[in-house]
Each structure stands twice: as C-alpha cells, then as structure tokens.
Symmetry: C2
Subunit: 399 residues, 2 copies
C-alpha cells in the first residue's frame, strides 16, 4: 500500500509548524511529507520592521529550514508555486509538479494596495527579507546622498509610511528611534528629517485600545513622527504621495504598510476567496475540498464575538499549524477532526527603543514591561519552531 502524500505549500509560520508537528505526529512509514518553499529559509515576518528600519541584522530574521526540519523525514523542495490543480490533486511548481493526497496551503500574504495606483512602482511594499533589506539600504542611501548634493533636497530626508496599522507603527517606531544615530553618522541636522504616518481610517492602530493608541502616538510624536489620520492616499507617484485632498508630500521613500491580502495563487487556483483569503471550515479545510487545508494568512476565520475576521497574525498561524497537523493525522490514522479556535493570548506592538504597547490576557501594558513581553512573544515563536537551540541562536534578549 502506498503511503499518503502530504504536500505543504509555504514555510512561513503556518506551513513550517505544520511540517514540524506532522513529523512528530506521524511515524516514518505513515506518510510522505513534502514542504515547498521559495527560499531555503523561513523568516520571522513579524520581525521585519527591525531590519527594514536598520535596527536588526536581517540575518537574524531568517532560519534555515534544514536547521529546524529533519529532512530525512520531510522532503524539502525549493521551488515557486505557480498553481494548485485541486481537481487533479496536484500542484504546479516552476520547475516540477507534485501530486498529493492531502494539501496544506500556507502561502502567506501579499501587500494590499486597495486599488491605489503607483504602489508597486514607487513604494516599498515587500515585507520579506529581501524587501526589508532594500528598505534599510535605501534609507541609508538617502542619508548618504543628502550631503553630496549641491542643492539639499528635503525629499531625501522625508519618510512616508502608508498605514498606521501594526506594521506601519512598528516600522516607524524603529526608524524614529534610529534617526538620531543616522543623523550623527551622516552629519545631517535632525530637524531636516521628516517622518509621516498616513492612515485612511479614523484612528491609528484600529482595533487597539484608545488609551494605548494615544500612548503610542504621543511617544512617536515626541520622536518627530507626524500622523495624518483620516487621510487616504490617492496615488503614489515618483518622488512622493498625493493625498485624497490633493496635497502632495514629496518623499523619496514611501513604505507601504496598509495591510495584506492572501496569496494570489488562491484565486488563480479557483478557490472562492475574499482578497485571497478562503473562509475555511472549522477544521481548517477548504469548503468542498476535504483534502485541502488552508491556514495562515490565506485562511479567513470569523471572530463570532464581533462578527469580523480575525486578523492575519503569526499567533493564529502557529496555532492553525498545530491543529492542521493533528487533523491530517486524524484523516490518516482515524479519529475526530478538531475545530480550530484561536486562543488569543495578547497583542503587543513594539515602538522601538525598549518601548511597546499591548494587551496581554486582557491587561493593558506599556513601556518596558510591554517591550519585555514583546520579546518573549518573539522568542516563543522561535521556540515552537526550533526549540531552545533556535532561541539561543536567533532570539532576543529581553534585558
């Protein structure tokens, strides 16, 4: 009898943890597990605001897949997913094809432009290791260019972040913290640096407690950040952004952080989806496709309490990966499929320089204690993926 073939697409939080857990749940002869990923590394998406702003070596955000996965047990294929042929039960990759009995789609997210023109052409929108490195190197380059031009151009030192959600705030937190050092290093007067955070919604950090939002905004403003709330962006152009009211902000650095949508492979493969997210069954399977699990940023799950979708977070992705692994085991070895129920322990947004805000087990936290908690959360995801060794190697010291 043939072993069931399990194919996992994507080695982000959701996919990688599924692979790690499946290896533990199933014996050597019980399944053939294949993990497909574009790079030979996993990266900590939720850390990328740090290398993007230049406050962390990007190397620390990535984890070699072979260092956390027993490749004798899980076959690793470095390739790019082109399309899922769900009716033929196979996946088309750039260089090959894979047939499956069970598929786990964990392809992550793409930037959401909300139809604003010019984002992909003129803004930095890739929240990947490559993308974050480019933002950092671009910022450095703007500083070093400034003093070499006869006519000093303010737009070189003007930084625009589109979106005051989690990513935008965490990024500007790091950048605003780094600006004094950049100014010193590049002999630039600090008053020349302008930082804008532009948000279409009526508040920064929508969904966060207003008291915490105020704390964050005050802190960031004290570092020179200017907020433009309730202020949609009409267009990103070369050298700046045009706001809905017609005003233009000249800037050579526009970072797009208005949120994400699920992978476009989802729609391309014929799944019914909203912005690349499939409303999955409670057991995390795609409707009408009992052999396809969809988890992480491509999965849409409604928070019944507020009748709105849960946000795409690492916390939920990790939990889904664990449930997904157990449910695949149940399909293969028999047993009840589990319903996924997020266990939201808390949410902490870092603000750079040992500052953070958050809600942990329903309790508001600020400043150093929030920052401590944030680092613990970051280390926890490493622990789940690679145990204490990985925490020692890549983890953050909270002290």
């Amino acid at each position: 009898m043939n072993k069931p073939r399990i194919v996992i697409l994507g080695a982000g939080y959701a996919g990688l943890i599924t692979a790690v857990k499946l290896k533990k749940e199933l014996g050597y002869n019980e399944a053939e597990i294949t993990l497909v990923n574009k790079h030979q590394y996993h990266y900590q998406t939720t850390w990328l605001h740090e290398p993007a702003a230049g406050t962390m070596d990007p190397e620390r955000t990535r984890v070699d897949i072979k260092s956390v996965l027993d490749t004798n047990r899980v076959q690793f294929v470095k390739d790019i997913v082109i399309e899922i042929k769900k009716d033929e039960k196979k996946v088309i990759l750039e260089k090959s094809e894979l047939e499956y009995d069970y598929l786990v789609v964990a392809l992550g997210s793409e930037p959401e432009t909300f139809g604003v023109p010019g984002v992909f052409e003129h803004a930095f929108s890739k929240w990947t290791v490559n993308g974050a490195r480019q933002v950092k190197d671009h910022i450095d380059y703007m500083f070093s260019k400034y003093n070499n031009e006869d006519q000093k151009r303010d737009e070189l030192l003007t930084f625009v972040v589109a979106g005051a959600g989690f990513t935008g705030i965490e990024f500007i937190g790091e950048l605003s913290e780094r600006v004094p050092n950049l100014c010193k290093k590049y002999d630039v007067p600090q008053e020349k640096v302008k930082m804008y955070v532009i948000e279409a919604a009526p508040t920064a950090l929508p969904g966060f407690d207003p008291e915490l939002v105020e704390y964050a905004m005050n802190l960031l403003e004290s570092r020179g950040v200017e907020f433009k709330i309730n202020c949609p962006i009409k267009e990103v152009i070369e050298g700046g952004v045009i706001l809905a009211d017609g005003d233009e902000i000249k800037s050579e650095t526009v970072v797009w952080a208005t949120g994400v949508r699920g992978s476009s492979i989802i729609e391309k493969s014929g799944f019914e989806a909203m912005r690349g997210r499939v409303k999955v069954q409670s057991d995390l399977r795609a409707p009408e496709h009992d052999d396809v699990f969809i988890i992480g940023d491509c999965a849409l799950i409604i928070n019944e309490e507020i009748n709105r979708p849960y946000p795409p977070t690492a916390q939920i992705a990790l939990q889904q990966g664990e449930v997904c692994a157990r449910n695949i085991k149940a399909l293969i070895k028999g047993g009840e499929l589990e319903s996924f129920k997020p266990d939201i322990k808390g949410t902490v947004a870092s603000l750079g320089g040992g500052e953070a805000i958050g809600l942990v087990y329903g309790k508001k936290i600020y400043g150093n204690s929030a920052s401590f908690m944030k680092k613990m959360i970051d280390n926890r995801s490493l622990y789940i993926l690679g145990g204490p060794g990985l925490v020692m190697k890549k983890g953050k010291s909270p002290f």
Copy 2:
C-alpha cells in the same frame, strides 16, 4: 604691536600638520593662527577606498579637529573658502572674511575628468567622507535591489572603476575582497557580479614597477576583476560608460578614480596654475607672493630626476606642512627659509584582504609584508597629527 596673523586654508594632511607644527614653533604671543575648514573634522583621504568599498567604518577615517588641535592657541573656523583676494591680503569665506599677514593654501584636490562628459552627473567622483559613504551605501543598495526586481538586471551587479591608478586599484582591492560577503548577505550568485577597471594609459598603476603591477593584476583578476587597459572612456551616461571604441558597459555604479587636480579656488583667485596646481618656489611660497604658501595637492613640485611633477600624496603633503610651519616661523622670528625636498620613503598600495604591493626604500615588497607596511604608514600619519593617542583610537592593527 600687532601679532602677525596666519591663516591656514584647509585641514587636510598639509594644512592640519602646518597648524599643529606652528603651534609648537611659535609662542602664545608670537602669532595669531587661524585654521579654516569646511568640516569640523579632518579625514584620512588615503583611507577612503576602505569605507567606499564598505570594509571600514567611515567614522574611523575622520578626526575631530578639536581633538588634535589646541583651540586656545589655534582659532578654528568652520566655513567654506570662496576666494582668496591676494592683493588685499584677505580670504572671502561663505559666512565671513579673514585678513592675513601669512596665508597657507592647503585646499586639496578635486576630481579630474579630463574632459570626459557625464562624470559629475553619472559617476561617483567625490573622494570625501560623504562621498565614500555614498559609494558604499549605493553598492549595498544595488545588491539589495537585485533580488527584489522581477527582471534581474545585470547592470545592478556590474561595477565600473574608471582609472587603474592608486585610488582605483586600492578601491577595487577592497571591493573585490568584500564581494563574496555581499553575495552571501544578499543571496546573490557570485558569478553575477562583474567588476571592471578601465584605464586609458597603457598600463595599470603607471609609474609602478611592472613586476608589482603584474602581481596586483593577477591577484585582482583571481577575485573576478576584469581589466581594460589602454581603453579610454568616451562618456559616462546614465546606466553605464561608453568606451572610445564605441562599446558600452552597462553599470549602475561607475566610480571615477582617474586622478585629481588642485582646488579650483586656486584659479578663481588668480594664481597661475596647471590644473589647479601652482608651481611653487623651493620654499613653498607662490611665485611673486611672498606671504602665500601653497602646499599639498595644490602645489606642483618637479622631480628633477625624471623631470616630472611629484604625485600629490599624503606623504609629501605632511612633509610640506612641517617645512611650511618652519618657514613661517623664520619669516616672523628671522632666519633662513628652508628649501623643500621630498623624502620619498616608499609607496605601498593595498589590495584588500591582507594583500598589498609596494616599493619601500627601493625594495619591492608583496603580500602580507607589504600590507603590514601599509598599515604602519597609515598609522604614521595619525601619529604625526595626533600622537600615540590618536593611533590607539583610530589606527590600524597590522596583525
């Protein structure tokens, strides 16, 4: 009786050493010494190939003037020289004017384009702290940009150095040494990186011993550098260079290192000069201007042995500063003016990664021993400027 006013323009090797030595030669009441410089720091011009390639923190190349100069004795003015009115015995600065009894012109050099169009618009030509930082940040940016573009463009990873003289060779030495690390850091296949050194003259390192030149070229070629010798550049364009034979090399990074000319202030101020260099008297004074000393890269001195000018080097600039200080003392306190005679101890060109070539006291040296010597030479200039403290702080460990 008024104290004679000595004004020194420029705090490069020549000007700064003049100020340091004058302070020692003259007592508190014997003169009023003023040093004018664009920045509050001196920098080690001969080290800039390292920060430009990214193998040294640019911070190490600069020395706060106040840390090496007793500003109770020497007044420091941070300003930009606009013109010397030699008949009115005054200097026009951007923000003020200074009258002098004795003037020391040590304004250094500017890039020489030899009339090639496009250099200032499309190449990196500023061999300053700001300029070197920009080259480094630009190179990093090219690497980080490469993987983020859907269509991988080879010109992002093609680096052109115009000029196989001292600066060009030392720069490509550092860069070629750093490329493997850059490739690793940015996930770029090393075979994608192209490095060209283009030289109009019939040899690299003109004036160097052919055996040493061959050693250097072989070493650099083994690191992937391609030389185009006897190959003038016709034009620098956006995105590359056009060679005299019509060929084009596409490159987003053209570093211009074909040599220097003296400061354009020299001609602007009506001194008779060749490419910004004044053929000074043997006592380092400008012809027909007994109150004006011209030293460093703005001074032209003929090497009678070969009937050609000495090259503008730090070694000669430092020696001129010392003679200049003693000659000013002689003018003020009486005594014979000294004739300047360069004492060429040797010339060593670093090739990156613990490699170098050179001629020291007439002896050819290679490899590690040459690299050791190079570091000693670099430390020596720090020692002359700021004593052992400065060597400890900014010097290079030869081990």
